[in-house]
Symmetry: C2
Subunit: 120 residues, 2 copies
């Protein structure tokens, strides 16, 4: 098993706070909306229930990746969710790790499917 | 929010059985070793404890993505873990979804960082 160093597939760079599927959706949504998104819009985009969105936002707030600001607009409560600067940086870092992972995994998979192509 | 369809960031294609970080490591390791890997090698590559690796292998076996075969070699027990054909197909599908996700997320993030570059 040449090149198979211990921990090679531990994927330490994949931050669990971001990697979880629902939170990855939340982070991606917010990354595309620098002014933030209303709770109701985020819920719709990510197809989450109020309870699930709240639970995942709490994890992201604890990691200081997201801020949640409550206010009142036209007599109605408005909750705005927004990436923090460090949340944005960590998300970009996460995408780098994910991109490298996909590239490596594809190479591994292709090499085993067609050995002649693996070194071409 | 043009283009922001409901559920756009729900990422339904990200199979939870594969997406979880430790299981992603296991699937990637096995994808590169079509003849399978011994439990001890897989443990080392993924930097997991016996208990954790067993737990995650169980999830992958329940999904029929992985087979675990126990035998005896040179009087010592040998456990071989291997991707099933459907496990391999689903892993390739998963990589496709992940690749599209990284591309979209990068575009979104770049567009917000430098609006002038987004349509270049």
């Amino acid at each position: 098993m040449s090149g198979d160093a211990a921990g090679r597939y531990a994927f330490d760079g994949l931050d669990r706070a971001i990697h979880e599927k629902a939170r990855l959706g939340i982070m991606t949504s917010l990354a595309g909306h620098p002014k933030g998104l209303a709770f109701s819009d985020l819920k719709r985009l990510c197809d989450l229930t109020d309870g699930n969105l709240n639970r995942h936002l709490q994890v992201l707030q604890d990691a200081e990746f997201v801020t949640v600001t409550k206010s009142v607009e036209k007599n109605r409560p408005l909750t705005i969710c927004k990436l923090t600067p460090s949340g944005r940086r960590r998300f970009v870092d996460y995408l780098d790790v994910l991109e490298a992972l996909v590239r490596d995994a594809r190479e591994e998979t292709m090499a085993t499917l067609s050995p002649r192509m693996s070194k071409a």
